[in-house]
Symmetry: C2
Subunit: 291 residues, 2 copies
Amino acid sequence: MTSLPVIAFVGTGVMGRSMAAHLLKAGYPLRVYNRTRAKAEELLAAGATWQPSAGDAAAGADIIITMLGFPTDVETSYLGAGGIIARAKSGALLLDMTTSSPALARRIAAAASAGGQHALDAPVSGGDIGAKEARLVIMAGGEPAAFAQARPVFDLMGKNIALLGPAGAGQHCKMANQIGVAVGMVAWCEALAYAKRAGLDPAAVHASISGGAAGGWAMTNLAPRALAGNFAPGFYVKHILKDMRIALESAAELGLDLPGLKVAKKLYDDVAARGWEDRGTQALYQLYTSL
Amino acid sequence: MTSLPVIAFVGTGVMGRSMAAHLLKAGYPLRVYNRTRAKAEELLAAGATWQPSAGDAAAGADIIITMLGFPTDVETSYLGAGGIIARAKSGALLLDMTTSSPALARRIAAAASAGGQHALDAPVSGGDIGAKEARLVIMAGGEPAAFAQARPVFDLMGKNIALLGPAGAGQHCKMANQIGVAVGMVAWCEALAYAKRAGLDPAAVHASISGGAAGGWAMTNLAPRALAGNFAPGFYVKHILKDMRIALESAAELGLDLPGLKVAKKLYDDVAARGWEDRGTQALYQLYTSL
């Protein structure tokens, strides 16, 4: 019996800790690091070993998985002095599952390749519930051989798993998703804010229209929360803003104008300006109905 | 046994003829008028009686149903000299199922009321298939007593049937739907156009994202047509443009800014400017990918 590869998991926030727990449960030796150690305690209690930094976690691992917050965190963790690429061994497999920039993913892949390592960008969708239930969508970019090597690990965390193209393609796919999500929020918010302004009961209108051509995941799942005055975060305003910034930068590099996304970004800037950064994305409905 | 009320059906296009056929099948005596007589032939062969004008059709009917193209058609048919309101008897029930303007619906309701008639605006969604299968969503505005009287007739044509409020409320609800539809088209078109521009296979990206938070009816049903190069109309560009014009006018009257809808309107103006008015709304994807 061959022993399972050692995995380093860096970033054990809400998403990361659920994902890492699946790997631990499957028997992988797990080295963990997180900026706030408290968020790793559950995993440590379950058998993971604490590491003092991302680089230290990477040093002894065959596979390094990162699930971080912002592209700057990804850049520092991978490319910083004493970071993952500096410390990981040759042949190591680096999987960044953070939603981050396609351009940064390409830089990391190139740096990894120079060090004899193999990197994939592999952002996910499906949120905390998808992470908990191992039903994430995983969108990967990189070399097919690295993807094949990562596949058993991905299979423990997700269901709809695809290699979309070379380095950066996973992030591009995730950006496509976030563009659809962000502009889709504008769609149902404008629909229901219009109904409310016209004096209709938005819940009754929702019952008439959510099963039809205007319907979708967000109208089904987020609009009822907004109509009930529940603005608790499923997905944070500050995070959709981060993603829109990346997508707009990336679209600009590609020479593609996305007027719908620009409007969504401007509206969410207004949401954030009201101090609602830590609310759920459905807070956009609050903006429309308070205008 | 009491005999069923006589129904006049004005406007026997793709939607109207399917709707009218259900009434005929249920045994209602049916008087029909359509600008182009050929489009009424099926109904005439099935037992409907031809009438030379909307007013003539209305004259002998207990219930008058209109399913027309543009608000100007609705205005002429109802309020024009020798039109429906001039010719229908006192106590008649007038049901405009055209997607039209809320303000016009209120004017018609007021004029009907002055003539002792009862009007409902009752636009639908669900398209030609919904009409054929009697599964339309019917969104009504008007008096509850008139709605109760119309209900048996609505039940023959639709499934999700609601009275949303006073005259105009049905049109407002339909406008909310169309706002969601139009901005929702921008959402998936920008998502997949970005993916394509980034060098990804849009169909693979669709497979990754259409089941998640960016997913919805349009991404499921229209995006695959666009990706396959099929721009045949389910719903015409010229019709979504009509609806957006009405919605923007109505929003302006309500003092509500809809920046997402404005972008959608501008984009579809560009689609129309390319001569694609008679294509399906998924032609918006063509615009993005030809920029």
